[in-house]
C-alpha cells in the first residue's frame, strides 16, 4: 500500500470535495492545532476545496511558535556560556530571541548543533565529557517520548554532561485554556494525528462532553484532512459534539503504552509558558527528581536568573496563535516581517501560520 499515493488520489479528493460541498449553506470555523496540518493544508491548497461559509484557521500548533520568548532567551543565555554545546532541532536555529538567535550565536563561534534525534545529542555528550551538551526540549507529545528515552539512556550511561532545557508543551490542557476564553469562536477542532497516537483520542473527551465542541482526529494527507473536515461538518449539522477518529490506521482511544510508561518515568506534569496564551497549568512537563542531574534549568539556575525580561515587540504571533488574528491581518506581514527577516517565530518556523501563508498563498 503506497499510502501517500492512495491518500492523495485526485479522484478521491474530488469525491470528498463534492461531499463536503453539500454543507454549502453552513457557516463554520474549524481550527487546526498542528503545525504539520498547517503545512499540509497550505501545500495541497485544501482551503480552496471548502464551501464558502466554512473557514479553516490555525491555532497554537507549531511547537517552535508557541515557545515563549523567555524560554528562547534563556536557552540562548546558556549557549553563550563557555564549554556549552547547544543541540536542537533545525527549526529553532533562526527563531529570533530578544537580542540574538541561535544562528547568529553560531556565526559568532558558539557551538550549536542541529540533531535529527535527541539520542544524537547524548552521543555527542558521551564523546566530549569536557563540554555540557544542552538539548532544547521543544515540541508536543509526539516528541516528548523521544526526549524521555534520551534522558533515560543518558542516565543509564551516566552521561551527566547531557542536559535538557525543558520547554515541552502538552495539547489537551492548552485546548481547554484556549476554548475557555470568549474571544475565540470555533465550531470544531481538527485534532493532531501524531500527538494523538501518543495520548489516545480519549484524552480529548472533555472538549465534546464538557465544552460542547465537536472534534475529529486527522492524519496529514489530503484525503485524511478532508475526511476529518467532513466528520466535523456532519456533527455540526446534526447539532451534536463528539471526538471522531478520522485517522484509525494510526490512532486509538487509548494512549500508546510504551510512550506513556517512558513519559511517566522521566517527566512530571508541570505548568508551561505559551507564547500568546501565558502560563497554562498542567500544560507542560518537567524532569522528575530522579533525573534532576540532567535538568538544565537547575544546572544553570544562576545564569537563568540573570536573564532580563524579554524585549516587547509589536509581533502579533500571540494573537495569531490564539486564532484571533489571521497572518494577513498583521501589519508586519510581508512587509517588515518575511521569512528572511522575521520579527517572530510564526514567520520563521517551517510550520508557522505566517510562514505558510507567505509561502503558499502569496503576499
Amino acid at each position: 500500500m503506497r499510502l501517500s499515493d492512495e491518500f492523495r488520489d485526485p479522484a478521491l479528493v474530488r469525491e470528498l470535495a463534492e461531499r463536503i460541498g453539500r454543507f454549502s449553506g453552513m457557516s463554520a470555523t474549524i481550527m487546526e492545532v498542528c503545525g504539520t496540518h498547517t503545512m499540509s493544508v497550505a501545500r495541497f491548497g485544501l482551503k480552496s476545496l471548502l464551501p464558502p461559509g466554512v473557514s479553516l484557521i490555525s491555532g497554537p500548533g507549531c511547537p517552535v511558535c508557541v515557545t515563549d520568548q523567555r524560554d528562547i532567551d534563556a536557552y540562548l543565555a546558556i549557549g553563550a556560556l563557555p564549554g556549552v554545546t547547544l543541540a536542537c532541532f533545525g527549526d529553532m536555529i533562526r527563531v529570533p530571541g530578544s537580542a540574538t538567535s541561535l544562528e547568529r550565536l553560531r556565526a559568532e563561534g558558539a557551538d550549536v548543533r542541529v540533531v535529527y534525534s535527541p539520542i544524537d545529542a547524548v552521543d555527542t555528550a558521551r564523546g566530549d565529557p569536557g563540554r555540557q551538551v544542552v538539548f532544547f526540549g521543544v515540541g508536543f507529545e509526539t516528541t516528548i517520548p523521544a526526549i524521555a528515552l534520551a534522558v533515560k539512556v543518558a542516565a543509564e550511561g551516566k552521561v551527566s554532561n547531557f542536559l535538557v532545557y525543558c520547554a515541552h508543551k502538552t495539547i489537551p490542557a492548552a485546548l481547554r485554556a484556549l476554548l475557555a476564553t470568549d474571544e475565540l469562536r470555533v465550531s470544531g477542532l481538527l485534532l493532531p494525528g501524531h500527538v494523538t497516537t501518543i495520548i489516545g483520542s480519549g484524552a480529548y473527551s472533555f472538549l465534546a462532553d464538557q465544552l460542547g465542541v465537536t472534534c475529529a482526529v486527522a492524519g496529514f494527507e489530503p484525503v485524511d484532512i478532508l475526511l476529518a473536515v467532513e466528520a466535523i461538518l456532519a456533527r455540526i449539522e446534526q447539532g451534536t459534539a463528539a471526538i471522531d477518529n478520522a485517522y484509525p490506521r494510526a490512532v486509538r482511544a487509548e494512549p500508546n503504552p510504551r510512550a506513556a510508561e517512558l513519559i511517566d518515568e522521566v517527566f512530571v506534569t508541570s505548568d508551561a509558558l505559551w507564547r500568546g496564551l501565558g502560563s497554562i497549568p498542567g500544560s507542560g512537563v518537567a524532569l522528575a527528581a530522579k533525573y534532576a542531574v540532567h535538568d538544565a534549568s537547575l544546572r544553570f539556575a544562576d545564569t537563568l536568573a540573570a536573564v532580563p525580561p524579554p524585549k516587547q515587540t509589536t509581533c502579533k504571533c500571540g494573537d495569531v496563535l490564539r486564532g484571533i488574528t489571521r497572518p494577513s491581518q498583521c501589519p508586519h506581514f510581508g512587509t517588515t516581517c518575511t521569512p528572511t527577516d522575521p520579527i517572530g517565530p510564526c514567520m520563521v518556523s517551517s510550520e508557522g501560520a505566517c510562514a505558510a501563508a507567505y509561502k503558499y498563498e502569496g503576499v
Binding site: P10, F44, L49, P339, T340, Y360, G362
Partner: protein
C-alpha cells in the same frame, strides 16, 4: 544571500554591466563570450553519484550553457587543507578529467594553495569558465508569456544524496547525485533552431529558486503542474521523512529550458533522445501576470503559490 550580494558586492564594485545571470556576456573584438565563476565547498567530498571534482566541472559547464554558450575552457583553483591524502586528490583530478572529456571542454590552467590544518575543510575548488555565445539574448529576463517550460529530468537527487551522506542517515546508493554536464542537450537545442529564451540549472534552492528568479527578472508569471514533475520514489520518501519539499532541493544535472510554445515538442524530443534527458517533460508555462508569481497546480488539482526558499535549506550542498 541575495541581500549580501546586492548590498555588499554589487554595491561595492559592480558597474552597470554586472550580470545577475549565472554567466556574464562580454563582447571582445566582435565575438560574444560567456564568462562564469563558481566555488565548490560540498561536504562530503565524495557522495553517491559523484564527487567535488565532477561537480566543479559539470557545474561550470552548465552555467556557461545557460547563457547559450559552447563551453571552451575552464581554469581550476584548489585550496587544500594540509594533510589531505594524495590519493584523494588524484581521485578528484581523474573525475574532473572524465567529466571534462564528456563535456567537450579542457582544463587549461589553474592554481593551488595549501593551507594549515583547520583553515579549510579538506578541499575547496573554485573554477572560471569561458564559452562562445551561440545565440545572444538567452537570459532569465527574456522569458515571454506563452513560453513552455521544459525540465530535463527528475528533481531533488543531488541535494538529497548529499544530505543523507553527510548526516549518515542512510547508507544507500539508491539515492545518487545527478551531477552531469548537459552539453549534449543544450548544443542540440541550439543547432535545431528552437527558440530558447531562458535557461537555468536549478542548483541551490532547487527549481523553486530558479523559477522565482526568472519570473522576477522577466516580470512574468509562471505556472507549473506538479503531476508533470518527476521525483524518484526514493528521493520522495527521503524528503517526506525529513519534511523537505523536492521543489527546494538542489540539482546538479538538470536544466530548466524556457522555449517558444511552437518549438516545445521539438525541444522535448531533442532532450529525450540525449544521455541525461530521458525523463524530460514540459512542466509548465509562462503567463503575463501577476508578475513575479510562481504557482503550482498540485497533484490533487488545487492551486497554490510556490515561493522562493528562504535561508539555507542545507549548507554546503555544492
Amino acid at each position: 544571500m541575495t541581500e549580501l550580494i546586492e548590498e555588499v558586492f554589487i554595491a561595492g564594485y559592480a558597474q552597470s554591466d554586472f550580470s545577475r545571470d549565472d554567466s556574464a556576456v562580454l563582447r571582445l573584438d566582435g565575438a560574444d563570450i560567456a564568462f562564469t565563476t563558481d566555488s565548490f565547498v560540498v561536504d562530503p567530498i565524495f557522495f553517491p553519484g559523484g564527487d567535488i571534482g565532477r561537480l566543479a566541472i559539470a557545474g561550470t559547464v552548465n552555467d556557461l550553457l545557460t547563457a547559450a554558450a559552447r563551453p571552451i575552457a575552464i581554469a581550476v583553483s584548489f585550496i587544500i587543507e594540509e594533510g589531505l591524502e594524495i590519493e584523494t586528490l588524484r581521485s578528484i583530478a581523474a573525475s574532473m578529467r572524465d567529466t571534462a572529456d564528456e563535456a567537450g571542454v579542457r582544463v587549461v590552467t589553474g592554481d593551488t594553495k595549501v593551507v594549515p590544518r583547520g583553515s579549510a575543510d579538506k578541499v575547496f575548488i573554485t573554477t572560471s569558465g569561458v564559452g562562445v555565445i551561440l545565440r545572444p539574448g538567452v537570459s532569465g529576463a527574456s522569458a515571454k508569456p506563452g513560453d513552455r517550460i521544459m525540465l530535463t529530468g527528475s528533481i531533488g537527487d543531488h541535494g538529497t544524496a548529499v544530505m543523507l551522506a553527510r548526516e549518515k542517515l542512510l547508507d544507500t546508493q539508491a539515492i545518487a547525485s545527478d551531477a552531469a554536464p548537459l552539453t549534449e542537450i543544450v548544443l542540440g537545442l541550439m543547432e535545431s533552431g528552437c527558440q530558447v529564451h531562458a535557461m537555468r540549472d536549478p542548483t541551490r534552492g532547487g527549481i523553486a529558486s530558479s523559477l522565482n528568479e526568472i519570473a522576477a527578472q522577466s516580470r512574468a508569471a509562471i505556472e507549473i503542474d506538479e503531476a508533470r514533475i518527476r521525483v524518484k520514489p526514493a528521493v520522495n520518501a527521503a524528503c517526506e521523512a525529513l519534511g523537505i519539499e523536492p521543489f527546494f532541493v538542489a540539482n546538479e544535472g538538470k536544466m530548466l529550458i524556457l522555449v517558444a510554445a511552437e518549438d516545445a515538442e521539438k525541444a522535448l524530443s531533442i532532450a529525450r533522445s540525449s544521455r541525461y534527458g530521458g525523463d524530460a517533460d514540459i512542466i509548465g508555462e509562462v503567463r503575463p501576470a501577476p508578475p513575479g508569481r510562481v504557482t503550482v497546480r498540485t497533484a490533487i488539482g488545487t492551486s497554490r503559490v510556490l515561493g522562493s526558499p528562504s535561508g539555507e535549506l542545507l549548507p554546503r550542498i555544492c
